[in-house]
Structures are given as structure tokens and as C-alpha cells.
Symmetry: C2
Subunit: 77 residues, 2 copies
């Protein structure tokens, strides 16, 4: 099973992207985890280490996809 982690911060841009992730990702192939970095600030370091520069971002296995541009991750720390 592959791992998909969606990092967001609750912004309007994030919510649209979250819907996309929930609807469109193949759940038969991917374990999808949604991480709200505003609520779970202890996971910001993990997100940065994965290469996340802004949210919303989707990490598929170890590849980062930044979706549109919501907020710089540096503004969340």
C-alpha cells in the first residue's frame, strides 16, 4: 500500500484541494492521511523534512506536490 499525506492549514484553497484528495485519490492503492498543520503544529518539522514549502501539499510516497498556493509553511511555524 502506498502512502498519501495531505498537509493543509484549513484555508479556503486547502479545503478545495482536500475535497480533491478525498474524492479522486485511489483509496485501493493509497492510505490517505489528512494533516491540519494549524491543529497539529508538532508535525510541521516532518512536513518540512518531506519537502513541503507551502500548503496545501500532497506527499505521495516521498514526492511532494504543491497544489495552487495557500500559505507558506514558514507562516505556520
Amino acid at each position: 500500500m502506498s502512502v498519501a499525506v495531505f498537509y493543509h492549514a484549513g484555508c479556503p484553497v486547502c479545503l478545495g484541494a482536500e475535497q480533491m484528495v478525498a474524492d479522486a485519490i485511489d483509496h485501493a492503492k493509497y492510505d490517505v492521511e489528512i494533516v491540519h498543520l494549524g491543529d497539529q503544529s508538532e508535525r510541521i518539522t516532518e512536513a518540512k523534512t518531506a519537502g513541503v514549502k507551502s500548503v496545501p501539499a500532497l506527499v505521495l510516497n516521498d514526492q511532494v506536490f504543491h497544489i495552487n498556493f495557500g500559505a507558506s509553511i514558514d507562516d505556520l511555524a
Copy 2:
């Protein structure tokens, strides 16, 4: 069946995102079409009308998701 159209221009950023689309989108739910705007410049107007500002971009039904930032669509026209 929902419609997913992935617009790209063959750039390295696009190729990574294309892999993501091919692998991760639920093909049971979405008919996925890949459009290379470099080769199919007649579809640039359609992409702009859908709200595409840069490629790679994924249009799910009528919602646009710009992924990372490859190239401005204005540079392709």
C-alpha cells in the same frame, strides 16, 4: 463518470505530476485525459477557459488544481 483532464507541456515538473495523475487518480471514478499543450496548441483556449493559469494543472470536473509551478500558460500560446 467524472472527468479529469491533466494539462501539461512536457516539462520535468509536468512529468512528475503526470506520473502522480496516472498512478493516484481513481480510474474507477474518473475518465482521465492527458493533454500536452505543446503538441496540442489548439486546446490552449479550452484550457484557459477552464481557468488554467500554469501547467501542470489538473481539472477535475470544473475545478482547477495547479500543481507546483512548471510554466505559465501564457508562455505556450
